[in-house]
């Protein structure tokens, strides 16, 4: 992490809030908390560029909980919307038509449906053009706003409305989650990071680091989803924390393509502890335990951390 940081403990969390309470999103929404924390670090001069998703409904005319600028574009093209705003601000400032005091940080905010699937091409284009913007993907691992259908972010073994658990399909989704972090990293985006609101200091520091970097700054925030995943809204942070502690959600960053894990659990908890907290994985344990599937998930987590620890030289006790 950066040597100099404002954020040493959670007490350093900025008091200013740019999202007023009483919004229309679900109680316990991990995505909303991610946006709130992200905004605290960036400050008030922000324009959010949104693609279709849960957060779109937060801004329903004529009400807005947001104290900064907002632009809803379309499902597939929020990064292109960011391109238009960034370019316009740059060219108008260069021509003296807009004073520099009106400059804004341009931040794309989408769910995983837009980031992993329909907007993947537009993001690739924006990275390629070295667009100076932030991308915050709140990753709830499915199309949450339409009622929880699978996306390419949905993990192996998760039930979803389009991978329903049934006699002929006992495991739910049988594809592996797409590795968006590496997909973005491999294009040599200057900064890519994963976030989890349960690890606030790690979160704040990564956003802070992004503010010092020119070009695409891409973040994937693990976003607990009470309605889609099936848990009580008060458990969001605990479940997110378990995802980190079991190694299912690695906290890492990539600077110019070089990966560094920012928070390493010394001893991985078994994935079962995480999986058992959520309705979407219940079929892995009831009516009988699907041992092979749970083993497969554990093996894939272990393989990931074995490779990462070898590459970076840290010690970790696998589960």
């Amino acid at each position: 992490m950066s040597a100099v940081t404002r954020y040493k403990t959670l007490k350093d969390l900025p008091r200013e809030d740019y999202l007023t309470p009483g919004g229309t999103l679900c109680a316990g929404c991990g995505g909303l908390l991610a946006i709130r924390l992200f905004h605290k670090v960036l400050g008030e001069n922000v324009v959010w560029i949104n693609a279709a998703g849960c957060v779109t409904i937060m801004m329903t005319y004529p009400l807005s909980p947001l104290k900064s600028n907002w632009m809803y574009t379309a499902f597939a093209s929020a990064p292109a919307g960011a391109q238009g705003v960034r370019d316009a601000l740059d060219v108008l400032m260069a021509k003296g038509k807009v004073p520099p005091t009106e400059d804004l940080k341009v931040v794309v905010v989408t769910g995983d449906g837009a980031a992993y699937d329909i907007g993947y091409q537009a993001t690739s284009g924006a990275i390629d053009r070295d667009l100076d913007f932030y991308y915050l993907c709140y990753d709830n691992e499915a199309y949450g706003n339409t009622g929880f259908q699978m996306s390419t972010s949905t993990p192996y073994g998760s039930a979803s409305k389009t991978t329903p658990v049934a006699n002929g399909n006992p495991l739910g989704n049988t594809r592996n989650k797409k590795d968006l972090f590496d997909a973005w990293r491999i294009q040599r985006a200057p900064y890519v990071a994963t976030l989890c609101t349960s690890h606030g200091v790690d979160f704040l520091r990564k956003v802070e680091k992004g503010t010092t970097i020119h070009g695409p700054k891409l973040y994937i925030a693990f976003a607990g989803c009470p309605t889609g995943w099936g848990f009580d809204p008060r458990e969001t942070i605990e479940i997110e924390k378990l995802a980190v502690q079991t190694g299912i959600w690695p906290l890492k960053e990539s600077v110019d393509g070089v990966v560094h894990h920012t928070t390493v659990p010394r001893t991985l908890k078994p994935v079962e502890e995480y999986l058992r907290t959520q309705e979407r994985f219940r079929h892995l344990f009831e009516p009988e335990v699907k041992t092979e599937a749970v083993k497969r998930i554990q093996a894939s987590v272990n393989a990931y951390w074995k490779e990462a620890s070898a590459a970076e030289g840290f010690e970790i006790k696998l589960a």
Partner: protein
């Protein structure tokens, strides 16, 4: 004012240059590409103070165009055919955002089958998008309509984007003489764009927000319609000052030998030149033929069309497009404009032709007038689909070759 020979594409780029556009997001597609190549060159060469960015698709290109316009930039871009359809979702968004900008469409038939030469299925697919539409017959009109389009689009009473259409190949790659307007006069006609509510650090705004109330949604949609209709009046004002400055007058429609005509063909874009020739030849034969060219298609100039065509005996609407299962797209629009007009024509013949740029001879154009002469009062006219015997024979030969039945 200087006269220059230039293609329709360069005429479009010239309009953008004279408008001093701030931003051009681009993506190549035949037959439009020469426009963005020309602008890319002018920007690189310092002849335009413009930010030029090549996007990775028309969908992204139009998204960037719309958000840049909302941020306060004067935006220009261009596309054709598949590109317009690929970005179609964003056309509805940009008009809903009330983001004024100009998009040049270089008309090209739509796949499948994939083709390159023009018809108007691409641009007419955008007819309900909320973009205003101005269609050009000549290279001169291309430059002039781009400038007029900005003036109308950015007017606070309108605040809607506009498409300027020109035909691929027939106009895009045809060099014609263009009177290039003087920059100082253009600056007077078209001052810099001042956005009403740009994104701002001091006064934050929310744009494109969701509307979940049907009445509110309806109200916003009705407002967009009202703004488009207002565009007619604003276009008329803009056209008057354009004429004062540059000596060229543009109405939403334009008649040719129309005043005493009894048999009138209604058409648009570059093939209108063929229509004019046919009218001239019919006149030589003593037939009172005439032509009405459609220049503005959105807002739809129903009153001007009705006024121009009332009292005529028979019309033919030349549709260079095809809506399978309906016929020509403009036919029902023209006939509906006439329905409540006293002295409306006795018959209106639907004609479909020149699809995919099919070459159209003077004989074919004259055959339309011959059909008008034959049609009886009160009878339902037979639709005409233009195709010459020699062409049909060649089509059969090509099909036979593909199926090996001919060899």
């Amino acid at each position: 004012m200087t006269e220059q020979l230039m293609t329709g594409n360069v005429a479009a780029a010239t309009g953008a240059r004279l408008a001093r556009v701030d931003y051009v997001p681009a993506y190549p597609i035949t037959p439009q590409t020469e426009i963005i190549e020309t602008i890319a060159w002018w920007v690189a060469d310092g002849k335009m103070d413009t930010r030029f960015v090549q996007l990775e698709s028309e969908h992204s290109m139009l998204t960037a165009a719309g958000t840049a316009a909302l941020a306060g930039a004067r935006v220009f871009t261009a596309t054709s055919s598949q590109g317009l359809l690929y970005g179609m979702e964003m056309l509805y968004n940009i008009s809903g955002w009330r983001a004024p900008m100009v998009l040049v469409n270089v008309a090209r038939g739509v796949a499948a089958p994939i083709t390159l030469e023009p018809d108007h299925n691409d641009v007419l697919a955008a007819r309900d998008s909320g973009f205003m539409q101005f269609h050009a017959e000549t290279c001169q009109e291309v430059t002039d309509l781009v400038l007029l389009a900005y003036r109308v689009a950015e007017d606070r009473r309108v605040m809607l984007p506009a498409i300027v259409n020109l035909d691929g190949f027939y106009l895009s790659f045809t060099r014609e003489k263009v009177n290039v307007p003087e920059q100082s006069k253009v600056d007077a006609f078209l001052p810099g764009y001042v956005p009403p509510h740009p994104f701002s650090a001091t006064k934050p705004v929310a744009k494109g927000t969701s509307v979940m109330d049907g009445a509110l949604y309806s109200h916003i949609r009705y407002s967009t319609h009202a703004a488009s209709l207002k565009g007619k009046e604003v276009f008329a004002e803009a056209s008057r000052s354009y004429e004062e400055l540059f000596g060229r007058a543009y109405g939403p429609v334009e008649g040719y030998m129309l005043d005493d005509a009894e048999y009138v063909i209604v058409m648009s874009n570059s093939f209108t030149a063929l229509g004019r020739q046919a009218v001239k030849r019919m006149r030589q034969k003593g037939i009172p033929a005439g032509l009405l060219k459609l220049r503005m298609l959105r807002p739809f100039p129903a009153q001007e069309i009705a006024n121009s065509l009332k009292g005529k005996r028979v019309l033919a609407v030349f549709d260079q497009n095809l809506a399978p299962g309906l016929g020509g797209i403009l036919y029902p629009e023209i006939t509906s404009a006439l329905y409540h007009t006293k002295g409306r024509p006795e018959a209106v013949i639907p004609v479909v032709g020149a699809l995919g740029g099919k070459q159209t001879t003077s004989k074919e154009m004259e055959s339309i007038f011959e059909a008008m002469l034959k049609v009886g009062s009160g009878s339902s006219p037979e639709p005409i689909f233009l195709m010459r015997d020699t062409e049909l024979k060649r089509v059969h030969q090509l099909v036979a070759r593909a199926t090996k039945e001919g060899s």
